[in-house]
């Protein structure tokens, strides 16, 4: 497929700088990873509104909460594993419970972190954040959507968790300013099965659908960028119209996109479904695309899951 690849982290940093010009009350924080998360771009442009706390993720979340009580809109960034794992209790007690205006934008979500290995490959973050009352969770599909999402969460009061990947992503959507929060997008229509994916896995799902179309399997592909609140209508409609659902995520199949979709299906319109993702195992070191192949999270692996699910009679 002829896609243009772009770094979602860079898109995040650029958007912060853009927002910084418009919003005097925007403050950005980081914990010694600003050159990786790209918040350093904001720090260079607005040094007085950038706080790099050093290696203090827990303190960072608490400070963000304190800043937010005074009317600041606070973006905090780190790798997903540290932002949500290391500082979970601070997020729970000091940000989610009081519903403070803090946007946690974590980079390096998922196994696609690559060479750093399991210690840095966060595959539980979406589950951790979805479990928190008041927290809303978004996994942008590409860099264009990152720009829309960052502008959206800056304009909405209250806490958000936004998960970005380390790797460049193909731009599957146009560069415009309207993010439809809570709405899934059909990226490719189909009638035999629906693949519901998040983040980087949407592009691989589209590639899988292309492969499958040559075998006569007509797969719908949905980008579920808002994980919480999830788009129930799109899930039920897909179940009703295509009869089978496969979820695909660079995240543990427990507590992630697959679990959210399964909850909706079981309560509303049960159909055969499978959850594809990290199957309750920690990752290993390797190049990010080699890892996707290793865990069957590339186009070939997804296509195999679809074929297996097509065997189930409905």
């Amino acid at each position: 497929m002829n896609w243009e690849y772009e770094s979602p982290r860079k898109a995040y940093g650029e958007t912060l700088v853009e927002l910084g010009r418009e919003m005097d009350n925007l403050v950005v924080m980081d914990a010694d990873l600003s050159t990786s998360t790209k918040t350093a771009m904001f720090g260079n442009a607005f040094p007085d509104r950038f706080i790099n706390v050093g290696l203090q993720e827990q303190n960072m979340m608490g400070i963000a909460a304190g800043l937010a009580t005074t009317g600041k809109v606070v973006f905090v960034s780190s790798f997903a594993v540290f932002a949500t794992g290391r500082a979970y209790d601070q997020i729970r007690q000091s940000i989610a419970y009081p519903k403070l205006n803090v946007k946690i934008v974590a980079t390096h979500g998922g196994v696609t972190v690559g060479e750093d290995g399991a210690s840095h490959q966060m595959i539980e973050d979406v589950g951790l954040m979805c479990g928190l009352p008041n927290m809303r969770v978004i996994v942008p599909v590409d860099s264009n959507e990152v720009r829309r999402v960052i502008k959206f969460v800056a304009s909405e009061n209250g806490p958000f968790y936004v998960r970005l990947t380390r790797t460049a992503l193909p731009n599957l959507t146009e560069n415009d300013d309207s993010f439809h929060f809570g709405k899934a997008t059909i990226m490719r229509d189909g009638s035999d099965i629906t693949i519901i994916a998040m983040g980087i896995e949407v592009s691989y799902s589209l590639m899988a659908a292309e492969m499958l179309s040559k075998e006569g399997i007509d797969a719908r592909v949905i980008n579920m960028s808002t994980i919480k609140p999830i788009d129930k209508d799109a899930i039920v409609k897909a179940a009703r119209e295509t009869g089978r659902i496969l979820t695909v995520e660079d995240h543990n199949i427990y507590n992630g996109l697959g679990s959210r979709v399964a909850e909706v299906l079981v309560e509303n319109y049960p159909v055969p479904m499978r959850r594809h993702g990290m199957k309750d195992v920690f990752g290993v070191s390797g190049k990010w695309n080699a890892l996707l192949e290793h865990y069957g999270l590339d186009a070939k692996g997804i296509a195999n899951e679809v074929r297996n699910l097509m065997e189930v009679k409905i």
Partner: protein, 281 residues
Amino acid sequence: MAEVPQYKIRELRLKANDIRRWVIEMTWRAKSGHPGGSLSAAEILSVLYFHELRIDPKNPDWPDRDRFVLSKGHASPAYYAALAMRGFFPEDELLNFRKLGSFLQGHPSLIVPGVDMCTGSLGQGLSAAVGMAIAAKMDNRDYRVYALLGDGEIQEGAVWEAAMCASTHSLNNLIAIVDRNMIQLDDFTDRMVKLDPLEEKWHSFGWNVFSINGHDVRQIIYALEEAKKSDNKPSVVIAHTVKGKGVSYMENSPKYHGKPPQNEEEYKTAIRELEEARRGI
């Protein structure tokens, strides 16, 4: 420094006694709550709410108000009592502490008028206070931020993250107070984790340190006055106190960290002792 008049000292001691009375009343009626660390902080809260803090109960969201973070959130009975007595909400509401339908949650929540930060999970309040103090600097506002920590609480590592961060940012508008009552839930603090030399620890983290008797309102006032003179450092007041202060059977007893009076007799004893103490003020 101007001498604080005797009538003011007496008034603050009486307010501390009122706070203690409420702590017993509230925890007795709720059949739960944390009297020990509430009683030890009565004078500190009295001085803060009736002398020190620049606040307006009619305008709890006033942007230039001083902030207070009760980082040892379990001392909520004493905190809520001080807020109600200061006029943030009717004192009658204190009788509904910890009951379904009341905004007086077991630990401080932002739905309580006058509360600047929700707390309860120990070790987080100082970070929030640092955030508020940084915001004051960013916005060129002259309010100060006060945080009250427990001595058990500072066993949490995140407190020391915040302590290092505060001195790095030269937050001279931040004042922490440690309620050094020597006792935590399970045991005496130093049998759990050695905190001493506590003054030296804070000093080495880049803070001004004041060590006082936390039941002497005059010493609390003077320490806070000195702390406010800092030009480039955050300040900490180590307030040496007695856990359960004012109720004989609760004093220096880990048992009453998180237990209310256990029966009618204990309740009456506590009230009687506090009334006797009041007559002596």
